[in-house]
Each structure stands twice: as C-alpha cells, then as structure tokens.
Symmetry: C2
Subunit: 358 residues, 2 copies
C-alpha cells in the first residue's frame, strides 16, 4: 500500500509551523529580571529546556471540579480558600527559592492529600465495600519519566510513592497489593484504613448505597470528580505535574480512573506543558486529555490556553471537569467546563490567586 | 498572564493545514470498487467516518517484537508464520464479509491468545511468584469508547472481557480482583491458572529466577516485549484496535505495562488511525506512543507511515519495539526498531503477507 504524498509546500509549512509558532510566542514574551534567593546555587541541569526561561517560575493547583454549590456557607467557602492558599504558598516557596518543579508539585499534592476536605489521601471517598483505594501519578517533563500507583490502601501520601516508582524502580506503574509491597520496600509512611475516614465521605457513601438500593442510579452527579493536583515550571526551565485521588464514591471492581493514566489525567513535557486533570475519569481516558493538549501545542502550534480550551470545551461535554496547566513559557491555564473547580495559580510575576467558581 | 497571540496568517494556515492535508490525501486515493458479500446488509452507522471509504478494508496484526533470533529452526519459523497467517485470515474474512473492525480485531486477538506460541492468554509468561497475570485493551475509533483489563488470572480471553468493559460497563478500566468479579457477572469463559502453562515459559521463568539469584540482572533482553494485537479498518469506515499480553517474565508488584493504557499501547480514532503496540511497556507509556502517532497525523498533517516512523525511530530507542496500525484511508504501517516483529497485513486490494524480520 503506497504512502500518499503531500504537496511540497505543505510539507515545508508543516515542518516550519511549530518553529514559527514558538518563535512568535518567544518574541512576545520578554524575559523577566532574575529573581534573588537561592536560584543561583542550584546546579543547572544539562537537560534544562530553555535558557531564556531561567528566572521564571509558575504553578497551578486544583482540588477537584464538579457541581460545587454556590450556596456553600461562607465559613466553608473560607476554609476551602484558605486551604488552597496554603497549598499554593507551599508551591510558591519551593519555586521562588529555586527548588524544582518536581518538589513543588509533590509537596503541594502531599498537603492536599493530608487535608480532609479534598478527595485524596485523608478524606478519600469510600468504595462500594466501605474501603479506601487511592491512586496517584507524577511526571517529569525533562525526560518524560513518570510513576503511577493505583489501588493503595495503607499509604498516607500516594503521590510520594508514585515519585519513588519513577525514581527507584525500573517500572512506571504498580497496582494493588503489588503497589503495597513496593511501599514496604520503600519504607514510606503507612496508615490504617481508619486514617482516611471522614464523616462527610462516610455519609456520601451511605447515601450512594441507599440510592442504589432504591434503584435511583447515580447517587451524586459529583461522585466521579474529586481529585487534587498541581503543575509547575521551575527557574531551571523544567516542567512537572502530579495528581492524586481517592477515586469515585461507591466505586467497584477495582475501577481505575484517569489519574494514574499518563497522558490522560497527568502529563508533563518540557517541549510543551505540565498538566493535571480533574473530572469524570472515563471521559479523560477516552480523550487522552493531558497528552492531547500537549500535542495540540507541539504539532498544532496552539498556545496552552488555546489547546486547553479546544480539548475541555470542544471535545469533552459540559460538566466533565477541567485541567490546570503551566506551559514552558510560564503561562498558566485553568480551564473547566463544570460549575466550579477548586484552583489556584501563582507565578514569578507576582500573581497569587485562588478561586472556586468564575 | 496574557495569552500570546500568533500572527494571523499562521492561525489561518494551522486551521487549514489538516483540512488541506486530508484533501490532498483523498485526491490521491481512488475509491476501490464495492466488494460483494454481506456488506450491503450491514446497517450503515450514522457516525461512520468517510463515505468514500465504504468498500475499503485493511488489517494489521502482530505477535510481539524484540530479539527474535534469525537462527530460529525452520520448522519453528514455519509454525509462527502459519499461525500468523491463520490469524490474519480470520481478520480478513470478517472484514471482507462486511463485518466490523471491532469484531475483526477481537477475533484475531482471541486466536492469538489461544495460541501457546505468543505471550498472551495460553502461553503467557510467568510472574515472579509463578502465576500468570493478563492484561488487554480494545478501542472503538467511532466514538473513542474503550475498555481495559489488567491483572486477570482466570479469564481465558482477556480481549473479550475488555470489550465487555467497553460495551457493558460505565467504566473503562478494571484491575485485579475487581476485574475478576466483573468477569463473574459477564459469564465469560474461565480457566484454571494451569491452562496458561507452557513448558517454554516455565523454563524462561526458572532461568530468570536463577539469573536473578546470581545477580546478573535482566534474565532475557526479550522478557518485556511479548504482546499480541491487531488494528483494522472496516468497509463502514470505522477503525478499531486491540492488544493483549501476559506481561513481563518474572514481573513483580502488580506491574502494569502499556497494553491496557489507552493512548500508550492501544488507540483508535476514526479521524486518524488504529494502533496496537508491542515492546518495552514502560517506554511506550512515557512516550504515549499510540496517541502520539494519532496526534502527529491529526495536528501535524503527517501520514500514518511518517508519524509512526517519527515516533518509533525518532523518539524511542533501538530495540524498544514497534507498532502495527491502519489509517482511515486504509494505508497500513508496520514499524519496529527491534530485531524482528511477528506481523501480518491484509487489505481489500489483495495484500496478504506475514513477516518476522525484514
């Protein structure tokens, strides 16, 4: 079967387009002045992406998307905002001090895992059987190395075990009992299943079970959309992303969602962007959401914002969820098609903001 | 943070380029005459891809890639070739009779799962603990629906359970005991672990254990690269892909490879191609190989062959493995960077061939 040939001018343009797009982007993005602090003592990695980006950093975080009621009581709203601000500060401090994007996203996600408000780590939702099963992933944009874990039952901070999979194993993905045995070897902090208990998640589970018995289907339209995550660019020009979740309320059958699927819920590539997703996992897997955004940038010449808009608003359905992302030029995208998304963004230019709805 | 703007002419071109590329491709691809048989009694799906493609079909299959010794005895070589030919005939017969690409790839993969020569189903490799754990995935290019299963222990044909996940569940991915419980509900054929036994895989496992005890590292450079799979285009213009594997000899820790990861080892999209990969799973996950090929076609305007060459030869390392794929225009790509790949290709134009090395 012969390979179809494209006209020559088309080949020339398709080859040049991404280069031209990147050049255009670089022209409109002046290099900010170097930041002080510890940046200069960090050894420059030979695989750093872009010398011009050296003093720029940026971070975007999320605590899940879905039907977040605007009638939420003020004190509760304030608690969410304060928690997201605390998480964002952790990431900002790592990056402003010249730390790595990997450290920033891991620390932010650990903090959100420990916070009982979000569906990851402490505060994870209940499975159908009344247990907690946790998934997480992390990816390093320098060389596409990555680590995923799924179905964890006793690991306090799944994101840190995912990082150990990436850095200390020849594999990239461990599931269930095997992942627990890897945790044994790595000596990460272990907890009893009771540690993950929260009354709120327990009540949601009971409600889901009851509705199921009554045959009224999905107990909560929101039960599929809880996740935490972060994406960051460091002053060395390296991108990283991490995501963690307690999965879906009342889930069965060892169901896996998009979080630990590299390219779906989590992706980082120094050529394009770092992306962490939150939403209806099945849809994000089918649409390979995170890698699709990266590919639209790399091959289609779109900016991060354009690429994220195209995928979240053009390919997914309303209510499915969203992403937070940081591009190699330091631009940030926070895009969702659900009613709300717990999110925050900060960068070297002084931006520092947390939002839930608009 | 402001969105960088591209020059207008660039936006115009980037928007038009894929359209122009497709138009160019269509011009050079004459529609073959309609085939007889049962094609006319199959109801036309409203979401069929391309009316012009209606009587064209194509299929590509593989039985794994890696270090396949050219010194293989003639009788053994003949057995492999005969088995691949039999598999290819199954797919050809489904497609030539107007059947669906989903049926074709499922039936081909079932046949290869049942064949003890290949590392999938009967003949699957041994885990470190002496068990067999099977993974599979299938994807429908019409609407990106997909199903994956991993860590199966008693399901004779994992690919068929993956299809049931896709068609009968609200989820896309089940792992371990949960996947077994889903199998209970679906009433698929179950077997004892002994069913998967073959002396050859047992010996490979023993050899791996022994080398491990001697501290000589990887027992076999080939232990990571066994897989079977198929990609097909049917006369209705729909693409589908399926992959199945017994995983990695002596694997531990519930390790997951690329096979069940949609976008890595398996992908199908009516806008581009259907792709099934075989190789070092970890590398295929990091590079989101199957979706990357699709994205290079859709956003970069490359042909299937160009896109597959770019990813397999330009991004992966020599020896990592390869892919078989069929594009929406019926073109076939069989690309690998390993010493050999068990593979076959057939199409409506009369092509029917099976190869191991060149």
């Amino acid at each position: 079967m012969q390979v179809r040939r494209l006209p020559l001018f088309l080949i020339a343009f398709l080859t040049l387009a991404p280069v031209m797009a990147r050049a255009a982007s670089a022209q409109t993005a002046p290099t900010p002045p170097a930041e002080g602090g510890k940046a200069e003592i960090v050894l420059r990695r030979s695989d750093a992406a872009d010398p011009a980006a050296s003093a720029r950093w940026a971070i975007a975080i999320h605590g899940g998307a879905g039907v977040i009621e605007k009638t939420m009581p003020e004190p509760e709203k304030r608690e969410y905002v304060q928690s997201l601000e605390a998480a964002l500060k952790i990431g900002r401090d790592v990056l402003a001090a010249g730390g790595t994007s990997l450290d920033a996203v891991e620390k932010v996600v650990r903090f959100l895992e420990d916070d009982p408000r979000f569906n990851a780590g402490k505060g994870a939702v209940f499975t159908h059987d009344g247990t907690h099963e946790l998934d997480a992933a992390i990816m390093d944009g320098r060389d596409l190395s990555c680590g995923s874990v799924a179905g964890l039952k006793t690991v306090r901070n799944p994101v840190s075990l995912a990082r150990l999979v990436m850095e200390r194993s020849e594999h990239v993905f461990f599931v269930g009992d095997g992942a627990e045995r890897f945790a044994d070897q790595m000596k990460v902090e272990r907890v009893d299943q009771k540690y993950f208990f929260t009354q709120r998640r327990h009540d949601q589970w009971q409600e889901a079970l009851q509705k199921e018995r009554q045959g009224s289907g999905d107990a909560s339209p929101d039960r599929k959309r809880g996740t935490v995550g972060a994406a960051a660019l460091d002053v060395h020009g390296n991108l990283a992303a991490a995501t963690s979740t307690g999965g879906m309320t009342n889930k069965r059958f060892g169901r896996l969602g998009d979080v630990p699927i590299i390219g779906a819920g989590t992706y980082a590539n120094n050529r394009t962007a770092a992306i962490s997703a939150t939403g209806w996992g099945e849809k994000f897997i089918r649409h390979t959401v995170a890698h699709d955004i990266s590919a639209l940038m790399e091959y289609g010449g779109l900016t991060l914002q354009q690429a994220a808009d195209r995928v979240i608003h053009g390919k997914l359905d309303k209510g499915d969820g969203g992403i937070v992302a940081v591009a190699r030029d330091g631009s940030i995208a926070l895009v969702f098609n659900s009613e709300g998304m717990f999110r925050g963004a900060a960068d070297a230019g002084g931006r520092f903001e947390v939002r839930i709805w608009e």
